[in-house]
Structure formats: structure tokens, C-alpha cells
Amino acid sequence: MGHETVGTSAMAYAGKKKIVLAGNPNSGKSVVFNALTGLYVDVSNYPGTTLDISSSEIEQGLLIDTPGVYGISSFNDEERIAKDIILDADVVINVVNSLYLERELFLTQQIIDAGIPVIVALNMMDETEKRGIEIDVEGLSKGLGVPVIPTVGVKRIGIDELLERLPEASVGNPTPGLDELLKSVDELLSKRSDIGGSAHPSPTVSRGHKLLFLEDDPAMAERLGVAPTGHREAVYKMRREHVNRVVSQVLRDHSRPTLSEKIGRLTIQPLTGIPILIACLWVVYKVMGSFIAETVVEFTEETVMAGLYEPWMRSLISRFIPSTSVVWDILVGEFGVLTMTPVYVFGLLLPLVLGFYVFISLFEDSGYMPRIAALSDRTFGSIGLNGKAIIPMILGFGCTTMATITTRMLGTQKEKRITTFLLGLAIPCSAQLGVIAAMLSKLGLNYLAIYVLTIIAVFLAVGVLLKAVLPGTSSSLLLDLPPMRIPSLSNVLKKAITRTVHFIKEATPLFAAGSVLIGVMDASGVLDVIQRAAEPVVVSWLRLPRETATAFIMGFIRRDFGAAGLTSIDLTRPQTLVALVTMSLFVPCIASVLVMVKERGRLEAAAMWIGAFTVALVTGGLVTRVLSLASLV
């Protein structure tokens, strides 16, 4: 799997026909992509985003996947990227979920309107037939003016026909009345080039670009140097009515509510939805905290890394460098860059992060994530957010840095600010969570309850405060609820592995740098000076042993690094709880801070960093005092 930008990937295949796969979210697009490609797939990170774009060379040309979108506009990052890739396509394979024709065909018609040759893969036809929904495929093909191939991606049905008939892809029937409106764009653009208003003369502007301009796409208007015309709604209405007409002619629906619809309903009704959510989180906690953090990590960290790798590495280095030298200490000593870093990253974090991403991918692919968003909308309303904010929050449990980038999906600046700060403050990433879960599971249920309640209380209190203090408004929830379904295991694993690779790539250099820094500080005696300087805070205020300061210094680099550092310190049960609470709320990791600076600016990022530091120490001190008061009672 090569990770590179789409730009470089596309350049490598210059001259090849660009076949772009497009479709709504949950249309089964990735399954069709896998069925079309096979093993050799490039996964590229689209510049400036967390989005992975897969591409693969097939016999017919270069097949490029796009993020699932409802239309090509500029409502969010996914759409902007999908729009760029689709408008640049030679031919589009549009994967359509046959269960939701009316919604899905809006994008199909928009691509047809853009004048790009299209072939439609009418996917999930087995489910459609099973439910008693009849679709006149030939009628649909006639209505749209493009070939329509019934497919079942998971069973590879129709995939060969799709490839065979790819050359038949055609530009299709545009929405009635659209051509007249596009003529007015031509006139506008020719007037503009007459007066020399732009460097782009109108003949070079493609139909797709004109369409997007007509639909008030801000990026396209800027590119063409002309103010938007305000026609978006009129065009959308014409298209929606046209699609509805086509669908009404080809669809006969005799379906009844299915089991997945009934389960979907149970997950959003508070009476059943909240227990289901708690049960799911309990399973995640048990698997992560008990199985992965103990059994798996014991094997990977203790047996493999500490038992086999570390002694081997030490003896290897000792052959070249005497064990009394400072360099030996920095390389393979207590905080050694070749010992502590690989042990933490591969022995401890890798199984935890992978485990967590498997759960997150399961939540996403089963259609459960949007339902959690709907269920939590009211609670999030009290902290100035809407239910959609649960998506970056849950992703934050995977990696806070990646989640901070996804705050772009939120509606207003106020929501982005609140979510970014809460992510940096109170959402522990999977690596940190794994270490915390392992430590908490040794303390017992009471301590687990105090820990969870403290973090939730801080999360809500800070959220309520930010809602009241920050200027601006918050947007309302508007979210499509896809059907609940059993996710494809290969897709879940693929997604989890891709994300874990990203995480490890990002975390390892920081860990290594942190190890070197701590090693040098230890060897030069600076660590001792800092430990003494931090005594008033660590020993007097938090009532923790002096050496805990080292873990907090490690926490400045990454909180999971710091949390891992706590494991080697001898702490009592209350001290462990206080240290974990403080570390959980401690400053965001360096990578997160860099993303915060990029997304929110230096001043805001600095304010968030100082805010998190203060809240962590204040909460830690308060918990110590409450615990000692409780023990007196």
C-alpha cells in the first residue's frame, strides 16, 4: 500500500484514461472498487485532509475512488475533493444503491448534467428484489440516457458486465431546461472575456465547470472570476423534479419494514437506544481493557518486545558502544530511542490502536454512527454543538489529531472551536485510552466510575462554559440515517489497518524525538532539576511521587507517552486515579497542537493549550482532595 498524494499518483499514470468511481455514502462503492481492482491498490492521502483516496491501474485505465457524497458541491471537504476528481474524469462509474433510488440519482443526474460520460452500477439488487422492490432497469437507462448495469458488489455479480460495457458510457440526458440556463452562463462568460476581466476565455471552460458555476459553487465562481448567479436552488429543483419523474416511471415498491429498519429504530429510541449504546461501549471496554490491553499486550510488550527484542537490541548496541557511555543510554537505556520507542509503539500501542480502529470502523460501516449522533443531539445541544459533533469525538478516541481535522465538517466557527478544545482536553486517544483502561482495570469498579464521571463532568462543564462565553451561533442537526447492516469484514479490516498505519507513522517520530529528549535530559541531570522544580505542583498540589513529573514531561510530547510512563511508577490506588485523570486532561500532543494551529490559528491554539494544562492540574488537585476527604469520612 503506497501512501502518496493523489497528484503524484495521477502523474505516474499520465496518459491513462481516468475512470472515476462515484456514489453516495453507503452505496457499496468500496466493495465495487475492490471487486473491480483486486490486490494492487494505492491508498493516497488527499492533501490537507484525512481522506484516503484509493486508485488502481486496471486494464481499461486508472480507476480512482472518491469519497461518498450526495452531490458535487462545496458543502464539505469530501464534496470538494469528489468534485475535483469527478470533473477531471474521462468516464464515471456511478455506483447507485438501488434501495434509495430517489436520493442516489440526484448525484447521477448532476454528473450527467456536467457532461461527463457515465455508466451506472445499480448496486445491491439482491436486497432490492428480496424486499419486493421492482426496478425497470431498461426504463431507468432510457430515462437517464446512460447504460445501467444491475450489480451485487459483495457477490461480484454484474462486475464483469460493468467492465465490458464501460466503453458504452455516455453523456446522458441532461435535466430538461438546464441547457437554456447554461447558455446564459456562456453569455456571461463571453461578456467577461470581452471586457478582459479574466485570463480564462470561455471556450476553455468545460460544461462541468459551467454547471458548478451555475450552481453557485464558490470555488468555481472564484476560478472564473465572476460573481455567482444565484441559480443553485432553481437548478436543484429542476433536477430533483426530473429525478422524481424518472423514478416514478421505473420503480414499484411493495416493501415492508425489514429487520434492519426495526433494529435501526431501536438504536435511536432513548429507551432502547441508550442501553444499546452502553452495551456497545461496555463490549469495547471489555475487549480493549481486558483482552487487548492485558492478554494481547502482555504477549506483544512483555514476551516479544521486552523479552526478546530489547535484550537483542542491547546486546547488539553493546558490541559497538560501551554500556557506560551516554550514547548507549540514549540509544538503549531506560528511555532509549531504540528500546523504549519500539516497545511502546509496537508492543503497546499497535495492538491497542488497531483494536480501537476495528471498533470505530464497525460503528461506521454498520450505519450505527449516525444513529449515535441522532441520539446524542440533545446532550450536545447543551454544550453548543449538535449530534454531528459526536463523529469527531468518537474519531478522537482513535486519534485526536485526525479528529481535529474532521472538525471542518461542523457547521459554524463556534462549533469548531468548542469541539477542537474538547478534543484536545477531554478525549483520550486510543493509545492513551488503552494504557488508561489497563491501569484502571487493576483499580476496580469504584475507581473506574470516579474516573469516567470526572472526565464526563469536566467535558460537560467546559462545554457549557464555552457555549455561554464564546460568541457566534451553532447549527442544527441535518443527517441522513443509512440503513443498519452487517458490515463487510474485509472493508472494516482494510479501513482499520490503513488508519493504524497512519497513526503509527505519525506517532513514531514524535515518540523517538521524545525518547531522545528525555534521555538527554536524564543524562545531563536536567530531568532531576525539572522534577525538583515541579515538586510544588506534583508533590504538594497533586500529592504524587516526585518522579511522576517525568511522566508529565513525557505527556507534553504525547499524552499516551505520558500515560505509558505512569505504568513504571509505583503509585497507590488513589494516586493512580489522580495521575490518570490529570494525564487524560493534560495538554494535547504535539501533532494535535500543530493541526490546531493550522485549523484555528496560533493564538487560539495557545489559549487551548494553556486552558487544557490549567484544567488538568486544577481537576487533578481537586480529585486528590475529594478522595482524601472521602477516605476520612
Binding site: 450526495y70 452531490g71 458541491s73 458543502f75 434501495l99 434509495y100 430517489e102 436520493r103 440526484f106 448525484l107 443553485r232 436552488e233 436543484y236 429543483k237 430533483r240 423534479e241 422524481n244 415498491d253 416493501s255 429498519e261 435501526g264 429504530r265 435511536i268 429510541q269 432513548p270 449516525p370 449522533a373 441522532a374 441520539l375 443531539d377 440533545r378 445541544g381 449538535n386 449530534g387 442544527s476 442537526l477 441535518l478 443527517l479 441522513d480 440515517l481 440503513p483
Partner: protein
């Protein structure tokens, strides 16, 4: 005699007030969708408008059509999801104090309580009726 005069004046005043309210009610001068009745939440005397209300007031199982969505961005996003003004929708579920889950065919969309409060709808039939 005086009693009769008082009664007539009172009746005339009442009729005058009703006519005044009907003529000056701002909602009756705004036009709704082409095939839907006018938006007349504030016109309790107008029979054709009696069913107009906001989406946050609908209950699970109610059938309704959207009369007006103020925000253009929201209108466009809804249109892409297959939900347009005058379209017949069903309220699938209302989360207490939370979003309204609306359904069109099999398509389900969660609409936040605040946003639902800004969408004017006409209830076509109540659950169970």
C-alpha cells in the same frame, strides 16, 4: 333599549375585530407552495390554514408536507436527500427534546429540534387517524 344598543355595538366591535385580524394578519399575505395552502399559524379563523405548524410539533406516525424552509442551504441539502417542499413525508420518530426523524420512502433523515422548529409544515393526517 340601551341594552340592545350595547349588544349591537359589542357585536359590531367583535365582527370588526375579526375582520381586522383576518385582513391584517401578516401570514395570510405570504404565499406558501403553489399547491399547498398559505402559511397561517396566526390565523385561527382560516379553515384552510388550520393544519399549518412547524416540524418540531409533529408526532411519530403523522404524515405531513413541508411548506417552507427559510434557509437556502438547508433547502438545497434536503432536496439532494430527496426531500422537497410539498413532498409527502412521515414522521418516523421524535426523540424527546431531540431531533425529529422524518421518512420519505425508506430514506430516513434526522432533523435537529431547532431546525425542525424553523420548518413550516402542513399535517396531512395524524397518527392513527
Amino acid at each position: 333599549m340601551l341594552d340592545k344598543i350595547v349588544l349591537v355595538v359589542a357585536a359590531a366591535a367583535a365582527i370588526g375585530y375579526i375582520v381586522y385580524r383576518l385582513r391584517n394578519s401578516s401570514c395570510c399575505s405570504t404565499s406558501g407552495g403553489s399547491s399547498c395552502p398559505q402559511l397561517c399559524n396566526a390565523c385561527p379563523y382560516s379553515a384552510e390554514c388550520i393544519k399549518a405548524e412547524t416540524m418540531d410539533k409533529v408526532n411519530a406516525g403523522d404524515r405531513f408536507s413541508i411548506l417552507q424552509v427559510k434557509d437556502e442551504d438547508i433547502r438545497c441539502q434536503l432536496m439532494r436527500l430527496g426531500i422537497d417542499v410539498n413532498e409527502c413525508l412521515t414522521c418516523d420518530y421524535v426523540l424527546p427534546g431531540g431531533p425529529v426523524i422524518v421518512k420519505r420512502g425508506r430514506q430516513q433523515v434526522a432533523i435537529g429540534r431547532n431546525l425542525a422548529g424553523q420548518i413550516k409544515v402542513e399535517v396531512l393526517s395524524r397518527h392513527g387517524s
